[in-house]
Amino acid sequence: MAKSITNIKRLEISKEEQQERDLQEVREAVTENKEAILKGIELLSALDEVGTLDTAYAFSHSKKKALKYVVDEISKDQYAQLLENLPEIVFMLGDLDVKTVRETTNRLNEGIKEMNDTAVDQKTTIFDLAKALKDPEINRSITMMMQFLKGMGRQ
C-alpha cells in the first residue's frame, strides 16, 4: 500500500565529503589546464608587483559605486567642453596631413639640435642677420615660415 506522500529526507552529504568532491573537481581541472594555470600565476604576480592587482580588486569590488562617481563627475558642466572637444580632437587628428607634419617635425628637430649646439651668450647684429639671409639653410627656413604665415592667415 503506497499512500500519497510528500515528505523527503534529504541526502545529507557531510561537509568533509562535499569538500573532498569539490577538491577532486578542482584537481582534475588543474591537471587538464596545467600550462594555462601556471601562466596565469605569472600574470597575477606581474600585476601584483606593479600594484595593478590592488587597483583592479578595489575597482571590481565597488564597480557600481565607482562607475557612478565617474559618470556623475564627468557629467558636470565644467567637463562639458572637454567632452565635446575629445571627439573633435580625434577628428582633427584625422584631418592633419601626417606625412607633411612628419617632414616638418624632422626639420624642427634639426633646428632644435642646431640651436642646442650654439652658445646662447653669442650676440647677433643686424648685419649678422642680413649676412645670414645669404646662408641657403637659413633662407630656406625663413621662406618656409613666411609661406606658413601666409597659409595660416588665409580666409
Partner: protein
C-alpha cells in the same frame, strides 16, 4: 510562358522581371538595390508609416512599400531628391527615438533603427530628439512600452490586429502627440492583451521590449535609472556624430554575442509546434525570439511559448532520485536508484512475467525518448504494455483517419488551413488550446474572406468570431455530420469524380446514412433543420474545406465514430489531396503526435506497424536480438484496470501526471496504491509522483537535444539551451542507464543515433536524419529514403493496397444524457495561459499573477435560477466523486452547462467528477460526458478572475494601423512633397 505572367520593371535603368502583383519594395530588395525601410517587415506586409522607402516612380515620389508592380514602371532610388526625401524621413524617426545604443538593452546587432541609419550613412541629426509627454508603461507582467523610444511605425498594431488578431493595440493619431494605446487607453495590465508577446517580437527598437531583457542584455545596461539617464547623456556628449556612436555600440553588441547564447528550440506546450531561438545568459532566460523561418509559426507565439519558461528554473525541480522507505522519500545517488529500479523490475519480471509490468510514455518527451521507452518495454522486459497520453485525447481521431484515409495525422499543414475557403471547427476551443494556429484562421477570416463555422457547446472566442455558430447537444456531432452528408448525397452535390477515382465502399456508406434525416438530426442536436441545410450547401459549394477538431469530439463514448464521420464528409465532398483541404485533428501536446509515431503504443511499433504483423516483428526481433510478444499489450486504461484486477504490479510513468489528468482520479490513485513497484520520472514531485516508489528527476526540453513532431506531422529538432540542472538527467539517458543495468547493449552517445536506428527500422521515417533537420529545417512524415517528405498527404494515393480511401459506415445511439438527479452537464478544457493541469504554467510568475485561480463557469440563466452570483462557491457531485469551485457567471456557457478549466487543481480538479466511461473503440476516457448536480455553499464572493485578467478587457478591432489618419494630420507632409517644396 505567357507574356502576362511577368511584369518588367526598370530600376535605376536596369530591367527586372517581377511577379504580377508583387510589392514594389519586395522587388527592389530582391534586385540588390538598397533602400532604407523600417516599418516594412516581410512577415507583416506594408504598413506605410515610416516613409523611409521613398523612391521615384514614373517621375513621382512615392512609398515603394505602398505600390504593387505594374508593367513598364520606371523606378529611381538614387536621385539626389530621392535621397533627400529618405533622409528627411529618417530624421523624423530620430526626432522620436534617442540613440543611446551602447547602454540600450536592444543593442544586439539586430536593432533595425540602428542598422538602417548606419547603412544609410546618416552622420548627423538635423533636428534634436524630443521627449514625449508620456510615462513608460511597466504595468504588464511580461513586456513594457516606452513611448519616448517609440517611432510610431505601427508594427505592433499590425501584428496585434491582423496577425495575432487579438485587436488590443491601436495608435491614437488624433492626439497632439500620438502614441500606441491598449483597448480604450488603459494600462497594459488592465487591457485585453493576452501577452502573446508578438508586439515586442516585431518592434524594430527598444520601445516594446520583453521585461526579461531589461538590464540584462548589455554590459553597461544594468544600472540604477538615474545613473542610466546620466550615462545616456554622457554617451550622447562623447559620441557626436553617428559614425563613432555606431562604432562603439557595434563593438559592444559584438561583445554581447560572447555572453548571450541563442539556441533554437521547439515549444514544449501545445501541438502547434512553434519553434524559436531562446536567448540565455547562464541559466537566465532573457527572451524567446521567433524567426520568420520558423516553419509552423513564423514570427508568432502565444504567452506560454514566449514567456512561460520560469518552470525550468523553479526551486521545486527535483535534483536527486527519490526512493520510498517507510512512507518517506529518501534522496539517493543515481547509481543506487538505477540499480534499485533494475533489480526490482527484474524480480517482478521473473516472478510474475513480463506482462505484469506496464510503461506509459510522455508527450513531453522527445521522439527518441518515446522510441527508447517502447524499446525498453519490448526488448528488455518483453511486453507490449506500453502506451502514452494520446490515449487520453487523440487516439479516437487517429482511429477515424486510419479507418478512412490510412494515415493518422493532419492531412496538410497549417498553411493549408489558412488557405481554405471554409474552415469548420468542431469541439475545439482553438483560440485557447492552439492559439497560434487559431490566429491563422482569424487572420484569413478577417482579411481574406475565409468563412468560419464553429460547432461547440461553449461560446468561446472562435464562436464569437464565427460566420455561423451552433451549439449541438453534447455528443451529437456524429448525427449532424451524417445528416449533412446525407443531404449532400440526396441533392447530388457530392464530388462524383473524386469518389469514383479515389474512394471505395460508397454503396454501403450511402445505405448507412439512411436514418440520418434532417428532422432526426435537428431533433437530436437542437440545430434547426433549415440551418443544417444551409451548412450542407455551403460545405458542398466551397472549393476548399478544412475541418479542425479536438477533444470536444474525441473525448466521448463515440469519439472514434465522430472522427470517422468527419473524414467521411471530407471524402464525399472531395476535400482531400488538394491544398487548403483536409482533416485536422488538432494535437494537444507538443509531442503527442510523435509519442505515438515512435511506437509507445500497445499495438504498434514505430511508424504504426502492427505488432501482429510477423514480418514487422521479425525485423525488430532481429535488430534487437530478442523475442517480442505478438499480441497487443494493454493501453493506459487497461493497465489501471489490470492493477485493480491484480494482473499488473509494476508501472513506469514518464512525464505524465496521470493522477490528475486521467479520468476518475479516485479510481486511478487507488490503483497506484496497489502497485508493488511504481516508477515516476518527472521534473517535479507531481501528484502522481507522490504515490511512487522511485522518483527519477528528469530534464525539460530546454536541457536536452531531440526532436518533436507537431500536429502537422512535422519533425523538428530542439537544441540544448541550458545544461541539465545538476542532478537531473534527460529521459533518454535515464532509460539507457536502466537498460544497461538490466543487460541491454545500448550505447547511444547522442539522440541522433537513436533517430538513425528508428529511421532504419520504420519505413515511415526512412529518410529522417539529424542532418536533414538542421536548424529550422523540418520534415513532415512520411519521409522517403531520399529525404523527400509529404507536407500534403495522399498525393500518390491513399496508403491502402489499391491506393483508394474508404467510406466507413457508422451507427449512432445516444448513450449519455443528464438526468433528474444529475441535471447539469460539465464541460472542461484548456485555458490559453495555463497548460493542461498547469504544473508548468502555475510556476510562471506573470501567468500566476494574471490567472491565479481555477473557476467554474455558470450561465446567467442558471445563476438566476439557483440564486447565485459572481464568486459563489459550489460543490459539484457526479456519480464518481465531487469537486468544489468558485463561480464566475458568463455567457460563454448557456443553460444547464458548466465549464471547468483543466488547470483546476486541488479540490476543483475536474477528474474527481469524471468516471470510467470510454470511447468504445479506443478506450479514450469520455471526459466530456459528465452529469452532476450542484450544491450551493456560498451565494456570492470575490470573483475568481482578477481585474487584470485579459478576459475582462475590451478589444478595439480595426484593420491595420489606420495610417490614413496620420496622413490627414495638419502637421504631416509627405517627405517627398517636403523635398519638392524646399527645392
Amino acid at each position: 510562358m505567357l507574356e502576362r505572367d511577368h511584369t518588367v520593371v526598370t530600376i535605376n535603368g536596369k530591367e527586372f522581371l517581377a511577379d504580377p502583383g508583387q510589392n514594389l519594395l519586395d522587388l527592389i530588395n530582391s534586385s540588390g538595390e538598397n533602400v532604407p525601410q523600417i516599418c516594412y517587415n516581410e512577415s507583416l506586409g506594408p504598413i506605410q508609416t515610416c516613409d523611409t522607402c521613398v523612391v521615384q516612380v514614373n517621375g513621382e515620389m512615392q512609398r515603394a512599400c505602398g505600390l504593387k508592380v505594374e508593367a513598364g514602371m520606371k523606378v529611381q532610388t538614387e536621385l539626389p531628391q530621392v535621397q533627400m526625401a529618405q533622409k528627411e524621413a529618417l530624421d523624423r524617426i530620430l526626432e522620436n527615438h534617442e540613440l543611446y545604443c551602447t547602454v540600450c538593452d536592444y543593442n544586439n546587432g539586430d536593432c533595425e533603427i540602428h542598422n538602417t541609419m548606419a547603412e544609410f550613412g546618416l552622420e548627423h541629426q538635423s533636428r534634436p530628439f524630443q521627449e514625449k509627454p508620456y510615462n513608460r508603461d511597466d504595468s504588464g507582467a511580461f513586456y513594457r512600452y516606452d513611448p519616448d523610444q517609440c517611432i510610431l511605425c505601427g508594427r505592433c498594431v499590425e501584428v496585434c490586429q491582423d496577425v495575432q488578431v487579438n485587436e488590443t493595440l491601436t495608435i491614437d493619431w488624433e492626439r497632439q502627440q500620438p502614441r500606441v494605446i491598449w483597448d480604450n487607453d488603459v494600462p497594459i495590465d488592465q487591457s485585453s492583451c493576452v501577452n502573446c508577446g508578438q508586439c515586442s517580437t516585431v518592434c524594430p527598437c527598444n520601445a516594446m521590449m520583453e521585461k526579461g531583457m531589461e538590464g540584462e542584455a548589455g554590459f553597461l545596461t544594468d544600472q540604477e535609472p538615474g545613473l542610466l539617464k546620466s550615462m545616456i547623456e554622457l554617451t550622447k556628449k562623447v559620441e557626436t556624430g553617428y559614425g563613432p556612436l555606431f562604432a562603439v555600440s557595434d563593438s559592444e553588441a559584438a561583445m554581447r554575442e560572447e555572453r548571450i547564447k541563442k539556441t533554437k528550440t521547439v515549444c514544449t506546450y501545445c501541438g502547434v509546434g512553434c519553434s524559436f531561438d531562446v536567448w540565455t545568459k547562464d541559466r537566465h532566460i532573457l527572451k524567446v525570439e521567433p524567426n520568420a523561418e520558423s516553419p509552423a509559426n513564423g514570427i508568432s507565439t502565444c504567452v506560454k511559448g514566449k514567456f512561460g519558461w520560469d518552470y525550468v528554473n523553479s526551486e521545486k525541480r527535483l535534483t536527486k532520485p527519490l526512493i520510498r522507505r517507510d512512507d518517506t522519500f529518501h534522496e539517493v545517488e543515481w547509481d543506487e536508484a538505477i540499480s534499485y529500479v533494475a533489480k526490482r523490475m527484474t524480480e517482478i519480471k521473473e516472478k510474475r512475467g513480463s506482462d505484469d509490468l506496464g510503461f506509459i510514455s510522455s508527450s513531453k518527451a522527445t521522439n527518441e525518448e518515446s522510441y527508447l521507452m517502447q524499446k525498453l518495454s519490448r526488448q528488455i522486459i518483453g511486453t507490449n504494455n506500453v502506451d502514452n497520453c494520446s490515449r487520453y485525447c487523440q487516439s479516437p481521431a487517429t482511429k477515424g483517419l486510419f479507418r478512412t484515409v490510412g494515415h493518422g495525422g493532419d492531412s496538410g499543414s497549417i498553411d493549408d488551413i489558412a488557405k481554405a475557403n471554409l474552415v469548420l471547427t468542431i469541439g475545439s476551443n482553438t483560440a485557447e488550446s492552439h492559439p497560434v494556429l487559431a490566429s491563422r484562421i482569424k487572420r484569413s477570416q478577417k482579411l481574406f474572406g475565409q468563412k468560419l463555422f464553429v460547432f461547440d457547446l461553449r461560446k468561446h472566442e472562435m464562436a464569437t468570431r464565427a460566420d455561423r455558430f451552433y451549439q449541438p447537444k453534447s455528443g451529437s456531432d456524429l448525427v449532424w455530420l451524417s445528416a449533412v452528408s446525407k443531404y449532400i448525397l440526396d441533392q447530388g452535390l457530392e464530388d462524383k469524380n473524386f469518389i469514383e477515382e479515389w474512394v471505395n465502399e460508397f454503396d454501403a456508406y450511402r445505405e448507412s446514412l439512411e436514418p440520418y434525416t434532417m428532422e432526426y438530426a435537428s431533433e437530436l442536436t437542437g440545430i434547426p433543420k433549415q440551418e443544417l441545410i444551409e451548412v450542407a450547401e455551403e460545405i458542398a459549394k466551397a472549393d476548399k474545406v478544412s475541418i479542425c477538431w479536438a477533444m470536444g469530439v474525441t473525448q466521448h463514448m463515440r469519439g472514434s465514430d465522430t472522427s470517422t464521420a468527419i473524414s467521411n464528409l471530407l471524402l464525399l465532398t472531395g476535400n482531400y489531396r488538394r491544398e487548403g483541404c483536409g482533416a485536422y485533428p488538432l494535437r494537444g501536446h507538443n509531442n503527442v503526435q510523435g509519442c505515438s509515431d515512435f511506437g509507445s503504443m500497445p499495438n504498434f511499433f514505430p511508424g504504426y506497424e502492427e505488432t501482429t504483423d510477423d514480418e514487422v516483428r521479425a525485423r525488430y526481433e532481429q535488430a534487437w536480438n530478442c523475442t517480442i510478444p505478438k499480441e497487443p499489450g494493454k493501453d493506459n486504461h487497461q493497465m489501471i484496470e489490470a492493477i485493480h484486477a491484480g494482473n499488473l504490479s509494476a508501472m513506469y510513468v514518464i512525464g505524465e501526471d496521470t493522477g490528475i489528468v486521467d479520468a476518475n482520479i479516485n479510481y486511478v490513485t487507488d490503483a497506484f496504491e496497489k502497485l508493488d513497484l511504481f516508477i515516476v520520472q518527472d521534473l517535479f514531485l507531481t501528484k502522481t509522483a507522490e504515490y511512487a516508489d522511485v522518483v527519477l528527476p528528469a530534464a525539460p526540453s530546454l536541457e536536452k537535444e531531440g526532436t518533436f513532431t507537431n500536429t502537422e506531422r512535422r519533425i523538428q529538432r530542439l537544441y540544448k539551451s541550458l545544461d541539465p540542472l545538476p542532478g537531473a538527467k534527460p529521459d533518454w539517458k535515464i532509460l539507457q542507464l536502466i537498460a544497461q543495468e538490466m543487460g541491454g547493449a545500448w550505447n547511444y552517445e547522442h539522440p541522433s543515433e537513436i533517430m538513425a536506428e528508428a529511421a532504419s527500422l520504420a519505413p515511415l521515417f526512412a529518410g529522417v536524419s539529424y542532418e536533414r533537420l538542421e536548424g529550422y529545417h523540418s520534415l513532415q512524415w512520411p519521409v522517403h529514403e531520399d529525404g523527400t517528405d509529404e507536407p500534403l498527404l495522399f498525393q500518390e494515393g491513399f496508403p491502402f493496397e489499391d491506393g483508394k480511401a474508404r467510406f466507413y459506415p457508422l451507427e449512432f445511439e445516444l448513450e449519455y444524457d443528464t438526468s433528474e438527479k444529475y441535471d447539469l452537464h460539465v464541460n472542461n478544457g484548456r485555458l490559453l495561459e495555463h497548460f493542461h493541469e498547469g504544473n508548468m504554467t502555475y510556476k510562471v510568475e506573470g501567468i500566476a499573477r494574471n490567472t491565479p485561480n481555477p473557476f467554474v463557469e455558470v450561465s446567467p440563466e442558471l445563476a438566476t435560477e439557483r440564486d447565485i452570483r459572481e464568486g459563489a462557491e459550489v460543490k459539484l457531485i457526479s456519480e464518481a466523486g465531487e469537486a468544489t469551485g468558485v463561480v464566475t457567471v458568463t455567457d460563454r456557457v448557456r443553460g444547464k452547462e458548466l465549464f471547468i478549466p483543466m488547470s483546476a487543481n486541488g479540490k476543483s480538479a475536474v477528474n474527481f467528477l469524471t468516471d470510467n466511461r470510454v470511447d468504445k473503440d479506443t478506450n479514450t476516457p469520455a471526459y466530456k460526458e459528465i452529469a452532476v448536480r450542484m450544491e450551493v455553499m456560498r451565494k456570492e464572493g470575490k470573483s475568481p478572475i482578477p481585474p487584470n485578467n485579459h478576459r475582462r478587457g475590451n478589444p478595439v478591432p480595426q484593420i491595420s494601423v489606420n495610417v490614413e489618419n496620420k496622413w490627414e494630420r495638419n502637421d504631416y507632409v509627405f517627405p517627398g512633397d517636403q523635398v519638392n517644396k524646399d527645392g
